[in-house]
């Protein structure tokens, strides 16, 4: 690494070699994966990103782009000594266009900042998830982040109306006009979205906003089984047009959250499964939600409209991640099942795990409306991949996807073949080779190590 050359581009203050700051950028959010980097380079503009990449490309220096470093598949952690390209200084918030309902923001803007910016104009950015205070727009575009509202508004890709990105050799592609219909060539924005920093570095995104519907209701429903939870959500999708989230937690996870954060359980009985639902609209939603639940004659329910109480109900679901992390670095497997196979999978997975790891604990929760389950496993060594292997094979056998929303990163690439054929993976490789022939951009994530080519040490 030519520190002086990089300092000439971004300024000496923004080539960070301080060991503590480097350490924070080289461990993943769970603490499971640790890497090392010679420096964090912190460009302050697209032009600086361009110059940094042109330099790295010329020198053959591998780069790991990083935003909030909240990813859960170690896709932004330099595990092979790569340079970290920290994009958080690209935090420009463009003017909201109320007519088009769009805004252009820098890659370093946090989701929380984007939400606040949109709210100030009576609009809302539809993608939201627990890590909103640190996760950045650039990272969420690079990973096609999902979150809690996918069942109504789709993943990040659907919000993208345009993109600015820097190619591996430093050249900039910019297409930010945000025209809703624009069939002028290949969908570069959609291709870069979800490419996990392997094809280009996202520097800005033009995103769609949705009307900030004033009426919101959140409900919890205790049910007797995961199978019942699936049925409840299917009915709610028919009965509640404004349904904006449908989440699943189980009794043991809820209990862990309550114990960890010293909270009272949200329902009076200990239901085997609890569904959290949210509805948003122009008209009051509590009655719609309550009526729909009554019509189904399900178990105990609680419905909240007041913001603080809504946040409290949400916290039982969202705090799963923090509570589980207190048990030690978990193995986090984020998978999608076809809805008809979901309940049987949920029942089978603890046994399958315990067969190979008798001391393991399995925690299940997730975005039920999308068939997306988060399978967290604690009590297993960080580098023991047997548990990951049996769970992901079970997912594939049930017709599911080995990554719903977290991506492949470095942690799942050896299993990519469970969800993608050799021909598809070959096509991915061809695209990667076309856009990053020197393998400068995040070379150790997403694509499996080529046959006969070991991963770099």
């Amino acid at each position: 690494m030519d520190r002086a050359a990089l300092a000439r581009i971004v300024g000496a203050d923004h080539v960070v070699v301080d060991p503590e700051r480097r350490a924070a950028a080289t461990v993943d959010w769970t603490g499971r994966v640790r890497g090392a980097t010679p420096a964090l380079v912190r460009p302050g503009s697209t032009a600086e990103v361009s110059a940094v990449l042109a330099h790295c490309h010329a020198e053959g220096l591998a780069v790991v782009p990083q935003g909030g470093n909240t990813g859960l598949v170690a896709g932004a952690v330099p595990q092979h000594g790569e340079l970290v390209l920290d994009l958080r200084r690209l935090d420009h918030l463009g003017p909201v266009d109320p007519l088009a309902r769009q805004v252009t923001v820098g890659a370093g803007v946090t989701l929380a900042a984007l939400h606040a910016h949109a709210a100030a104009h009576g609009l809302r950015y539809a993608v939201d998830f627990g890590a909103r205070d640190e996760a950045t727009v650039g990272g969420s575009v690079a990973t096609n982040a999902g979150g809690v509202h996918v069942l109504r508004w789709g993943t990040t890709r659907r919000q993208l109306a345009g993109i600015e990105a820097v190619l591996a050799d430093g050249r900039v592609v910019s297409h930010l006009a945000g025209l809703d219909k624009d069939n002028t060539g290949y969908d570069l924005a959609g291709l870069l979205c979800g490419s996990e920093g392997t094809l280009a570095v996202v520097t800005a995104a033009r995103v769609r906003l949705v009307p900030d519907e004033p009426e919101v209701a959140v409900g919890l429903v205790g049910v007797s089984s995961v199978a019942d939870a699936v049925v409840v959500v299917a009915h709610l999708r028919e009965l509640v047009p404004g349904l904006s989230a449908a989440e699943l937690v189980l009794a043991d996870g809820l209990d862990l959250v309550c114990r960890t954060f010293d909270r009272r359980p949200p329902l009076s009985a200990a239901w085997p499964a609890v569904v959290l639902v949210e509805a948003r609209g122009r008209e009051p939603q509590a009655e719609v939600l309550a009526d729909a639940l009554d019509a189904m004659a399900v178990g105990e329910t609680a419905v909240a409209v007041e913001p603080a109480r809504r946040a409290e109900l949400w916290s039982y679901r969202e705090d799963h991640t923090l509570a589980i992390n207190t048990l030690g670095p978990p193995h986090k497997l984020d998978v999608t099942l076809p809805l008809p196979a979901l309940a049987e999978f949920a029942a089978a997975v603890p046994d399958v795990v315990r067969e190979v790891a008798p001391d393991a604990e399995v925690w299940l929760f997730g975005h039920l409306g999308d068939g997306n389950l988060h399978v967290n496993v604690t009590g297993v060594a960080s580098d023991d991949e047997v548990v990951d292997d049996v769970v992901l094979r079970l997912v594939a056998a049930r017709g599911g996807s080995i990554s719903a929303e977290h991506g492949i990163g470095s942690l799942k690439r050896r299993w990519l073949h469970l969800s993608r054929s050799d021909v598809e993976i070959d096509a991915f490789r061809a695209i990667k080779q076309a856009l990053d022939p020197r393998s400068v951009l995040n070379p150790n994530v997403l694509l499996p190590t080529a046959p006969g080519r070991p991963a770099p040490a």
Copy 2:
């Protein structure tokens, strides 16, 4: 062309050399562009498509994939002696999955057949446009077709939940599970969608369906200007949650439709511009629509709920295409303008055209909700591109896109640089080269002829 080899793959009956049938496949819908082909090859299965492409790839034989041949940029017409790969025999309709609201259909299924299939299950395919009886799913995926409902449900790309396609060398990629969240690699489906047959041949698609809302209302609103029409639509977007179409026609186009098809005008006064709006929902829509129009105090309105009357109102808009075609092969320019620039563009374009073609007539209509105008020009020789040039330059100068929904095809590729930078076009070329290194697939569309490399004769 090795006719015997192709006949061994698809059967002798399906290698069509009959001059009449070839002629129909070598002229575009408008009659403006004529080409030639040695044969139409009509595979009956994905395996046959695979074998045909493997053969063509080995022989270096260029192929133009074709569905209903309703495209308007000559993207499916063999202008350089390419083989035509007619995909209409791939007309399989898979079972509708009511829980996931999805269905897998063959590339050769017409939009009309897909609509009927979905309707039989109380669901609807959101993409719809005038050519529905001939246009195929494969063609609409290849071109990312838009149509009349984009403002509510998006273009074809947003409906795609999975794709099956054959790569240039005959290998098949298939990803049809239709999982809503599936972050396992690059978005191949989204990349192929809109690639106009240049990256792979789409053989099947898994598409999302929407609930078939029972209540539909269609309204016509006479307004004093295009500027007023833009304002009306912006307000309707706020006031009518179920708004599913917002189309624009002008007085001269309406008059042409009425004269051509011997119809009475739909409104009593001759308004300079007429907006057609449609709303769909679970609750009756006529009152919502009427109330919204009343609230704006716009000009004369007509609202229809009864299906035959709704179809009649729609016909004033949809029959523009047929009516204009009776005047001779039009130049069809399909563009998007940012909404604030649309009215000024509409006012300017006739003058700009007449400056270079004094005898030309300009017809404007389109999907106002998306900023998508169809600029049709008659009275100009088919091969005279001066008109196209001035119109597309005006679009680019106003920040618009030179293709909203038709694509680039062969007709617009020399202007692609007006909407895309050299770096973007280079990236497109790199992707094309990666997936089709021998340039077998539709080699003469979308990408401009490389600098210094003339188009094949």
